[in-house]
């Protein structure tokens, strides 16, 4: 009798999503989640973020 075997994966190794979540949370904590930002952004950096948000809300097609 022939036994069919299926490879576990034919392409990519499945990522460890739990590990990726931990890394993302870690970055959020490093950036000041849970605390008022100790080192506030410079006015120029904040302005750049406002422009980014405005641009993302804009439609150009």
């Amino acid at each position: 009798m022939t036994t069919l075997t299926m490879p576990q994966s034919v392409g990519r190794m499945q990522p460890d999503l739990a590990q990726k979540t931990r890394e993302a949370v870690q970055l959020a904590l490093e950036k000041g989640f849970g605390q008022e930002v100790v080192r506030p952004l410079t006015a120029r950096a904040e302005e750049k973020l406002r422009i980014l948000l405005a641009d993302c809300g804009k439609c150009w097609n």
Binding site: R12, M13, L17, V25, F33, E36, L53, K58, W60, N61
Partner: protein, 307 residues
């Protein structure tokens, strides 16, 4: 418009042309055509245009010809559109969208039809059977992971671990999908595991960037009891003078009527800017990941996430 924007728009238009001429006529299903036309004709922000062309742009960055990856990008785009339809069904939103004109009886088969069209599109690819199997696997896995996460999302979540659950959710519903899209664009071109993994991580972090920016722009989700990163950050600032007012508003069953007040408090607490700043940190991680790839690929992809 910058060169990279022009390139992304051109890639998007070619993808729609492929869908219109090679896929939709054979299906002869007006509701599918209406859904595709709606997405094509609805003005979209720049990050969304880039997202819609991710596998194709990656394939081109590696040196591939646009025409060879059109079926792959059409598959990608149709999967994203199907997800939008299923999101509308789950959230009971988008009543003015064409797939909702006949209610659930119309929306449900339209979503399934779009997924079927996405799979049909891959049949047009000129590639070997191993590549096709790998593409089917990566899209199948990503779709299943995202659908499972959608089924697990809980509303009004400010309990311990809410930040972990937020990142687990956007990781599964957006970042993993984007990782799969970038990986697929690379896999169609070659099968070099190390470079493909870098492309996956690039897409994953770009996906986090897009998801967080989206959450910065649409605070109205608060009305539906879905608390995104700006709300989670503001709610974590327990010493802030505005904290009690924010929590009082969020806990009200009538919070849908207070979205403007919540928006004002988030702004006052610096929550939207903090979240946008974190988004750019993930964008930087995406850029950093590209260092594992040849210089020409870096130069082609970095403007794609920096615009």
């Amino acid at each position: 418009m910058t060169g990279i924007q022009t390139q992304a728009l051109s890639a998007l238009q070619e993808t729609y042309r492929f869908i219109d001429t090679r896929l939709l006529p054979a299906l002869d299903w007006p509701a599918l055509s209406a859904a595709v036309a709606f997405r094509r004709n609805t003005p979209r922000p720049n990050t969304a245009v880039f997202s819609d062309t991710l596998p194709l742009v990656v394939y081109q960055a590696l040196g591939g010809e646009l025409v060879n990856a059109l079926p792959l990008n059409a598959c990608w785009l149709l999967h994203l559109l199907a997800a939008r339809v299923f999101d509308d069904i789950q959230d009971e939103e988008g009543r003015d969208h064409p797939w909702h004109q006949g209610g659930l009886r119309q929306a449900l088969p339209t979503g399934i039809g779009l997924q079927a069209a996405a799979n049909l599109s891959l049949a047009h690819l000129q590639c070997d059977v191993e590549t096709l199997a790998a593409l089917l696997e990566v899209f199948g896995q990503a779709t299943a992971v995202a659908a499972r996460a959608q089924s697990l999302e809980t509303g009004s979540d400010l309990a311990d671990g809410a930040l972990d659950r937020y990142f687990a959710h956007i990781g599964a519903t957006t970042a993993e999908v984007f990782g799969a899209g970038a990986w697929a664009g690379g896999r169609l071109y070659h099968n070099e595991a190390e470079h493909l993994e870098a492309l996956y991580t690039f897409g994953y972090n770009f996906g986090l960037y897009v998801a967080i920016l989206d959450d910065c722009l649409d605070v109205a989700d608060v009305a539906h009891g879905r608390f995104r990163l700006p709300v989670l950050y503001a709610a974590s600032l327990q010493e802030h003078p505005a904290h009690p007012e924010l929590l009082a508003l969020l806990s009200q069953p009538t919070r849908a009527q207070h979205v403007d007040q919540v928006q004002r408090l988030l702004s006052e607490m610096g929550a939207v800017i903090w979240s946008a700043n974190l988004a750019t940190a993930f964008r930087q991680k995406a850029v950093d990941t590209l260092q594992a790839l040849p210089q020409s690929v870096q130069e082609a992809l970095i403007p794609y996430v920096s615009t």
